[in-house]
Symmetry: C2
Subunit: 84 residues, 2 copies
């Protein structure tokens, strides 16, 4: 989940998203989530963002195994909870 | 490519990354890239960032078909150049 939202709403969006996903770095969260919970999260994010100002991009994969994640620099997020 | 870099370096990182990828929204670019070009881009990004301050996260997939992308709100990036 990548978020690009107005400063006024960042804290709220982050607080909500972190109930479901792991914060990786500014503007980015990731994690395993069920389809049902994903739908709920999307709805809740819609309620606290402005469609004509903010941008949220979701990348959804069936499994953690089908992509490679590489990081460079400071690891800012919580420990990576993906089970490989 | 998700970037979380010091304000002083954002413009440089963005300028370099946009030579290879499409800007989607703040802190996020995406696109198709060869392995060779990806290695070059990583090297160039390393040269213009500070390892102890900045964070770059790359998610790499073999093909565009193995993930679903959903967006909400304002589409800020250039037109999506993925060929599906």
């Amino acid at each position: 989940m990548a978020y690009d939202v107005n400063e006024k709403r960042v804290a709220k969006v982050l607080k909500k998203a972190r109930q479901y996903l792991n914060w990786v770095q500014n503007s980015l969260l990731e994690g395993e989530i069920t389809k049902a919970k994903y739908e709920i999260l999307k709805q809740q994010i819609r309620k606290i963002t402005k469609k004509d100002e903010d941008s949220i991009t979701w990348y959804i994969f069936e499994s953690r195994k089908i992509f490679i994640k590489e990081t460079y620099g400071v690891e800012k997020g919580e420990p990576d909870d993906f089970i490989i």
